[in-house]
Amino acid sequence: MKVNKEDVIKIAHLARLELKEEKIQDMQDSINKVLDWMEALNAVDTSSVEPLVHMTPAINHFRDDQAKAMLDRQHALNLGPDTNESYFKVPQVIE
């Protein structure tokens, strides 16, 4: 599997990254190198194997549905780079 320049730009968009033009080639080369190396997985026969999703035998832990004070608004807002008294601010979304 090899990715081309358009693939790299598309992946970057999906990942919400903006790669500078001069960095794209490097990224493409290193991704291709790693993907090549990942091909080793194809040498393993997995035809009758179920994917492993859960790492522990732990099953759902339920807790009582009780209201608890968690992070209050002011503490949460203090973390944001741009906020007013009630909200996190972002660039305009609706025209």
Binding site: M1, V3, D7, V8, I11, A12, H13, L14, A15, R16, L17, E18, L19, K20, M27, S30, I31, K33, V34, L35, W37, M38, E39, A40, L41, N42, A43, V44, T46, V49, E50, P51, L52, V53, H54, M55, T56, P57, A58, N60, H61, R63, L71, H75, A76, L79, G80, P81, D82, F88, V90, P91, Q92, V93
Partner: protein
């Protein structure tokens, strides 16, 4: 000279003493927590500018806490870890303190809560002395991917400390704290421990809550201790283990936690690893000497085959990059951390500029790879495939641990790299994790202990892996070997 008021030079030995011995001195009034903190602060003062192990030192706070704990010792109300000085990796959250995850994207971030592992130590009167350098989001094997510069090896500062918990390893190596709390996703506790000549333990996946650990790859990440003395690893592990109601993967049922009886003292090593072409000759020699030592202690040591050696690292990198691409989507410049100052034309543009500015190259590469392996066209070929191989690796490894009590190997294939030696080629960097990732892929506990030094006087590490929740037995074997 901070400590001249102590009548005899006991402070010189503070870092050489196990906590249990320090505690006796504390309880007998021969030593105070303030003495201990002052000693570690003096070590930080002397070495941190060069070694860059700590990104931030809580000097005043640690001294204040020490004075408080000294009062508690006097009044007989001190916790079980009174005066234990710990350093914490920059990937762990500590209430009202900065956690940057070694990244510019979290520069200025202050956590609103503490990781369970940290809180439990503090609750027993341990003293947090500072925040330790690491590779950005734990992604690296040399600490050179820290946005704040690499931590250096105290043994030889032309060499790296290893990673990603590099600062945590060096802090113990250079006697800047008694125990460090690190994190291990593919070897990030054990590898720097080996490079720095200290011990480090990665617990079973599901033993320690990940609450407050800034996530890299959630099905691999674990929090564990690094220290000079094995007894201190065991002590800290016993406190940080167990369910907290915040991490649903923590196992609390005794059915799984019970200690398995050691049967026949059988130990296996994987032939393909012990004979691996990348293995440095000095390390191979020291490893086989350790095997002889085991035999002389009555252990049966068997070479076994492992058919998945070439699949280990690709499995690890497919799955961890996938999980990372998802976990790191939360860094978007809205709710916390860095936001671009450049005018953005819309929300998506702001996300992209923020993330491009503040993530390092390796983090971007892993997000890109993870996004690729999770994309609709390639999901089955990469992600599902790797999950299947992961099952094979886990089952096969645990099968080996049915017939044997432990699986041993060198911790790393070489001693600490020179600075810059591995940074040009990401693949070369990835290959350095060969011996450590198996424990994370399979969710097993593993420990690295010192194994002497190579011909350049750089430390080497010996790794023991055990079946799930067999940390106690693993530590007992480790104790026989140091």
């Amino acid at each position: 000279m901070l400590l001249c008021f102590i009548e005899y030079p006991i402070w010189m030995n503070i870092s050489q003493l196990k906590y249990s011995d320090l505690r006796k001195l504390l309880d007998q009034g021969q030593l105070t927590c303030v003495d201990i903190v002052k000693y570690y602060l003096s070590q930080i003062e002397a070495h941190n500018a060069t070694l860059h192990a700590f990104l931030e030192v809580y000097d005043t706070e640690a001294l204040d806490k020490a004075a408080l704990v000294d009062q508690k010792i006097k009044s007989g109300t001190a916790g079980e870890l009174a005066g234990l000085v710990i350093g914490i990796k920059d990937l762990l959250c500590y209430e009202d303190h900065h956690s940057y995850a070694g990244s510019k994207i979290l520069q200025s971030f202050k956590s609103t809560f503490s990781a369970t592992a940290i809180q439990r130590l503090i609750d027993q009167d341990a003293i947090v002395i500072g925040r330790q350098n690491c590779d950005e989001f734990g992604m690296g094997s040399t600490n050179e991917n820290s946005a704040f510069g690499p931590a250096l090896n105290f043994k030889n500062t032309a060499h790296v400390a290893g990673g990603s918990s590099g600062g945590s390893a060096v802090a113990v190596q250079a006697n800047m704290c008694h125990v460090s709390l690190g994190t291990d996703t593919g070897g990030s506790i054990r590898m720097p421990a080996a490079f720095c000549g200290v011990s480090g333990l990665k617990p079973t996946y599901g033993r320690v809550s990940r609450w407050g650990l800034i996530a890299y790859a959630s099905s691999f990440d674990s929090i564990g201790p690094m220290a000079r003395h094995l007894e201190d690893l065991a002590l800290v592990l016993s406190h940080i283990s167990g369910a907290d109601g915040q991490d649903s993967t923590v196992v609390s049922s005794n059915e799984f936690l019970a200690k398995k009886p050691i049967q026949g003292k059988r130990i296996a090593y994987i032939k393909e690893m012990a004979e691996h072409p990348s293995l440095q000759a000095d390390i191979k020699k020291a490893f086989f000497e350790k095997l002889e030592l085991l035999k002389s202690k009555g252990y049966q040591v068997n070479a076994v085959d492992f058919p998945y050696v070439d699949a280990l690292l690709p499995t690890y990198y497919v799955l961890t990059t996938a999980e990372a691409s998802s976990n790191l989507s939360r860094f978007d410049g809205v709710k916390f951390g860095h936001r671009t100052k450049v005018a953005s034309k819309d929300l998506v543009d702001m996300y992209k500029k923020t993330r491009d500015e503040a993530f390092g190259e390796e983090v971007k590469r892993r997000i890109m790879l993870g996004t690729f392996v999770l994309s609709a066209d390639y999901y089955d070929a990469y992600y599902t495939k790797a999950q299947k191989v992961r099952r094979l690796i886990k089952d096969f490894t645990q099968g080996l641990l049915q017939d044997h009590d432990f699986l041993v190997s060198p911790t790393t294939s070489s001693t600490a790299y020179r600075l810059g030696e591995k940074t040009m080629d990401p693949l070369q960097m990835y290959l350095g994790d060969l011996f450590t990732v198996q424990a994370n892929v399979a969710g097993l506990p593993a420990i690295s202990i010192p194994m002497g030094e190579d011909s350049q006087s750089l430390p080497m590490g010996f790794q023991i892996m055990a079946d799930v929740f067999q940390e106690e037995a693993m530590l007992e074997l480790a104790t026989e070997l140091v």
